[in-house]
């Protein structure tokens, strides 16, 4: 009698251990790859965020050069202003509105990366740690004039989760809970970042591009007017075909270089926006399938999102 009971208990324990070990050995590396790819694009994001005020300053530099009529004594002071100089103060003042935006963008993105890293750790059944600098954002994160109130709450919610996951030693078994609790926050934060990058930043780059075109176009036109006068003084009659295209060809090369750089930045911003879409959609799929995370279909989907994001990282790298 006792022998049978012992046999049953041993059998139950064996079945349970097998069930537990099989759960622990489930391969969720696809989810890890998805989160790794997503983190990869996010790591370079601060370079993009900082370009908001840099773009604004470039726009003002083009204007200042035109206003100064290219007087040699002003050129370097405008393009490379000394620290503490009036020129530097004027540039900083003209673009100060972007400084806080940059800071908040970098912070929100860091929280997103922290979350994705934690999800990767949970998928790998590793203990997770997070960047301690993010802790304070749970209280101090503000809208920076660009995020709306639900987005600010979502960033703070993610910070709270990171702290809890690290201090309470979350492992794979909490992955489902994390997906359930944080999906709304992820959707909000990715949508906020996407809006700011794809709309605000791209608009600023378009303003810069318009200024660039105005700068080169006006300068070339000024040169043509000047050359016409030189030709008239040399005896050319009005209506005579007088051209000096060689300097313009050289200048056009510089113009093209700057156009190409700007185009690459706009492409990178759009690539980042697409990556955010993929992060949001990938997370949503994991959330929808949270009760069956180890199914082949779910893992294949996560892997596909990870691959798409990885291809977008390449576009992002070209500019940042």
């Amino acid at each position: 009698m006792i022998g049978n009971r012992v046999k049953k208990i041993v059998g139950f324990v064996l079945v349970l251990s097998f069930a537990l070990s099989s759960t622990a050995c489930v391969d969720l590396s696809a989810i890890q790859k998805f989160t790794e790819s997503a983190s990869d694009v996010g790591k370079r994001f601060p370079n993009l965020a900082k370009d908001l005020s840099a773009s604004c300053k470039r726009q003002h530099v083009y204007q200042a050069l035109r206003k100064a009529q290219f007087r040699p004594e002003r050129l370097v002071k405008i393009t490379h202003p000394d620290k503490g100089s009036e020129d530097e103060a004027a540039l900083n003042s003209a673009c100060k509105g972007f400084s806080e935006q940059e800071q908040r963008l970098i912070e929100a993105n860091a929280v997103l990366i922290g979350y994705l890293k934690t999800m990767g750790d949970l998928a790998a059944d590793d203990l997770t740690a997070h960047d301690k600098e993010l802790d304070g954002l749970g209280k101090s994160f503000t809208n920076g004039n660009i995020f709306n109130d639900p987005e600010v709450t979502a960033v703070k919610g993610l910070v709270g989760f990171l702290l809890k996951a690290a201090t309470e030693g979350y492992r794979r078994k909490q992955l489902k809970k994390a997906l359930e609790e944080q999906n709304d926050n992820i959707q909000l934060v990715t949508a906020g970042l996407r809006r700011i990058v794809a709309e605000r930043y791209v608009q600023q780059l378009e303003n810069e591009r318009d200024q660039l075109r105005s700068y080169y176009g006006s300068s070339i036109s000024d040169y043509n007017v000047y050359m016409a006068k030189v030709a008239q003084n040399a005896g050319a009659k009005p209506g005579d075909m007088v051209q000096d295209p060689l300097p313009i060809i050289q200048v056009k090369r510089l113009w093209d270089d700057e156009e190409n750089t700007l185009a690459a930045r706009i492409e990178a911003a759009n690539a980042y926006a697409k990556a955010l879409d993929n992060i949001a959609q990938g997370h949503q799929k994991l959330y929808d399938s949270r009760n069956d995370l180890s199914s082949k279909t779910v893992l294949a989907t996560a892997l596909a999102y990870g691959k798409t994001i990885q291809s977008l990282v390449e576009d992002f790298r070209k500019a940042f």
Partner: protein, 142 residues
């Protein structure tokens, strides 16, 4: 009191950016016919309008108005008319007037002063009306 939202500021940024671009195109297309003074004036106005666009992207302004939605509709109506005017007018003095009106609207928005905004928008509609009257006069005399 309603405050200018990030999305509303972005719409303003686009409107001002479009007008600045329109001015650049006018100036570049008519460069040879313009006097140096006219070119400089147009370029300066273009800079101001484009800088307002960047200010709106940065949302470095605080605009609080009781009837914000209505004011924004008026501003859009006025800036649309100004943009069309730049595209259709031929006389540079008229273009300069229109561009100056746009700068006044931008400055009024940045100032956050409801009376200044209403006055600038009113001036824009008036400018638009004068433009049509001038055209009729040209047709009659022409």
């Amino acid at each position: 009191m309603p405050t200018l939202s990030s999305d509303q500021a972005f719409q303003l940024a686009k409107q001002f950016s479009d007008i600045a671009r329109e001015l650049t195109e006018y100036r570049m297309s008519n460069f040879a016919e313009l006097t140096p003074d006219q070119r400089n004036q147009l370029e300066g106005l273009e800079f101001s309008i484009r800088n307002f666009s960047s200010d709106f992207v940065a949302l470095s302004i605080k605009l609080e108005l009781d009837d914000l939605d209505s004011a924004l509709r008026d501003i859009k109506g006025a800036t649309d008319k100004m943009k069309n005017a730049i595209g259709n007018l031929e006389k540079v003095n008229k273009i300069l007037k229109v561009a100056t009106t746009v700068v006044t609207i931008g400055a009024a928005i940045v100032s956050g002063n409801p009376a200044a905004i209403a006055s600038a928008v009113g001036a824009a509609f008036e400018e638009d009306k004068n433009k049509d009257e001038d055209k009729e006069e040209e047709t009659v005399n022409g």
